[in-house]
């Protein structure tokens, strides 16, 4: 993933067929290419062999607690909004071996770490997803204790971003200021233009290696009209967001720890933790120690964890957050409010996954709106 390199390349027009060339070129360069494909009635991010794997002609329908694939009228390749799980699965895998240890005569020895995995090529990252990568880069980038694994995987990744031409019903990146336009964090960014006459991508490089690859793909130079058409699509998507976040109140959530709303939302919340699993910025993990039957070989694994479990806050004697209200409050307050204290930004990028994948359709924007409503100076709502 490129840093602050300036985009120098002029925009190019790539034909639909060029996608296969792009994927194969990246594979040839030694990347593990991952991108969207249809599996299990959803668009999921997984390994791609070629452009045939892409979800051509598929779209999705997302609402609170609702996700369905639907056939599109056109042959758009990136005509869905977002996949249920973001790129976190690849950049910070759900299960990571921290180390293995072997019993020795005197005690135990830590085994050397496994050889590095091949770098990732990410195809089809959305603006909100790039924002999530930036957020996690800070989370795992503590000056004293960075996570070397995350930093390396992200730094080595080749990112092909695709700006959204449409917005979903649970999307609110526009109000979070994280999309739908892509402005940094990509090697190549594209906008898909599909109509009766053509199916092309207006592509721009965001890094030297992006520019080099784009050149290899031999596209035509994009005309101003093409660029204009692309920008118009993205601008249209920005206006079509299904949700809006009340950001000023969201930042202040930590000021309302005793708000009556927490009990109301807790009455619905199943504390299943789905929202934390699909959230592209949630970073909490636990560790698990395993040994073989003889007890001579041990491994320590890091696994995604969720602040919605009771065990999460366990200190000897009991858990700190036993009530669902306390756990929901922790999650949303952290995501929207205390994240600023910790990392200087929102921990929410407006992708809407937590709304779509909440089994009871709890809506992060609606919860903030409710508190916003109650806390308006004129409102009678209690604190």
């Amino acid at each position: 993933m490129p840093g602050a390199e300036t985009a120098v390349a002029t925009a190019a027009i790539l034909q639909r067929d060029a996608l296969d060339g792009l994927i194969k070129a990246l594979r040839t360069k030694g990347y593990r290419v991952v991108g969207p494909r249809v599996a299990d009635d959803a668009v999921v991010y997984d390994d791609l062999d070629g452009a045939d794997d892409l979800p051509t002609g598929w779209g999705d329908e997302q609402k609170g607690g609702h996700y369905r694939l639907r056939k599109r009228a056109d042959k758009a390749v990136f005509g869905y909004t977002t996949a249920p799980q973001g790129w976190k699965r690849f950049l910070y895998p759900p299960k990571q071996k921290l180390f293995a240890a072997r019993r020795t005569a005197s005690g135990f020895a830590i085994e050397p770490p496994p050889p590095p995995e091949p770098p990732l090529a990410i195809i089809g990252a959305r603006a909100c997803e790039l924002a999530a990568m930036r957020v996690q880069k800070r989370v795992f980038g503590d000056k004293d204790y960075p996570d070397p694994g995350y930093q390396k995987r992200l730094a080595d990744a080749f990112v092909v971003a695709v700006e959204c031409s449409e917005a979903g019903d649970t999307c609110f990146c526009a109000s979070m200021g994280t999309g739908p336009a892509v402005d940094s964090g990509y090697d190549i960014k594209m906008v898909e233009l599909v109509d009766k006459s053509r199916h092309v991508f207006v592509a721009e490089a965001g890094s030297a290696k992006g520019a080099k690859l784009l050149k290899e793909l031999k596209g035509d130079t994009a005309k101003d009209a093409d660029k204009g058409a692309a920008a118009a699509r993205v601008a249209k998507a920005a206006k079509a967001m299904g949700r809006v976040m009340e950001t000023a109140t969201a930042k202040r959530l930590k000021d309302f720890p005793e708000h009556a709303r927490w009990d109301q939302v807790a009455a619905r919340c199943l504390t299943c933790g789905n929202c934390t699993m699909v959230c592209p910025t949630c970073f909490c993990t636990t560790v698990e120690d395993v040994t073989d039957l003889k007890g001579d070989n041990a491994e320590r694994w890091r696994k995604w964890d969720s602040c919605f479990t009771v065990d999460f806050s366990y200190i000897h004697g009991g858990s700190v957050r036993t009530e669902a209200a306390a756990r929901y409050r922790q999650w949303i307050t952290h995501k929207l409010s205390t994240w600023h204290d910790q990392f200087g930004s929102f921990g929410c990028v407006g992708c809407g996954r937590c709304i779509t994948w909440c089994p009871v359709g709890i809506d992060i924007t609606e919860e903030v709106a409710a508190i916003h409503q109650a806390e308006k100076p004129a409102a009678k709502g209690r604190k």
Partner: protein
Amino acid sequence: MTSMPKDPMLPVPFRIERVQRELSDTFTMEMVPKDGGAFSFKAGQFNMLYVFGVGEVPISISGDPADRSKVVHTTRAVGAVTKALDALKAGDEIGVRGPFGTDWPVEAAYGQDLVFVAGGVGLAPLRPAIYQAMANRERFGRVVVLYGARTPEDILFKKELERWRGRFDMDVAVTVDRATGKWSGNVGVVTKLVARGGFDPLHTTAFVCGPEVMMRYVAAELEKKGVARSSVWVSMERNMKCGCGLCGHCQWGPHFVCKDGPVFRFDRIADMFSIREL
């Protein structure tokens, strides 16, 4: 200091040199780096101790920060890992990650009266700061140690407390919640010792460590005596899996207890103390 491996999640092997039983469920272990290096830390910091195949647990360092030849931990066996720790003996090996976290600001308290208030095993994380203060004794006004334990049998570092009590330049008072046997000392909560004073509230820095509820009451009592909230420091405890801000478990409001704490200035967290289940 042992060079920290690049990956903060990788433990460094240490060898246990000595195990000393303190109470029936509490013990002190001294360990040295297996590679023979030194270990340096600041008073109040903690390590993540790894028992082979069992797991890891955050434990405060209870030794002298001036002694870099070894690292000392005093642990109470209450959970699976601490019980496994309890089963280890001299010669066994253990994994250490750390030191992590903030420290008791001993040097910033130069020129002041220094009051240590400890409850239960909370004396262990304070002991390094007491050592450091006594090594620089001339820098302070009075040095006061107030300690509350459950019963006389639960008094940690008894011999050391007695030795400190015998010093002319240190005021030590111990109280128990429940007297047993031939105990002829104070009975009552540790806040009562604070109420008795023996320090200049306007020029006092207080380090408080014990159960959260105890620290809340002690801080309130210190405030009643006239010690500013900004001169009171407490050491917090939360679930920790990494010790360095990566796992998210120890979050307390905006803070990661592992890296923003465990030692906090009281005025910065006082409001959070009263929020339930935060």
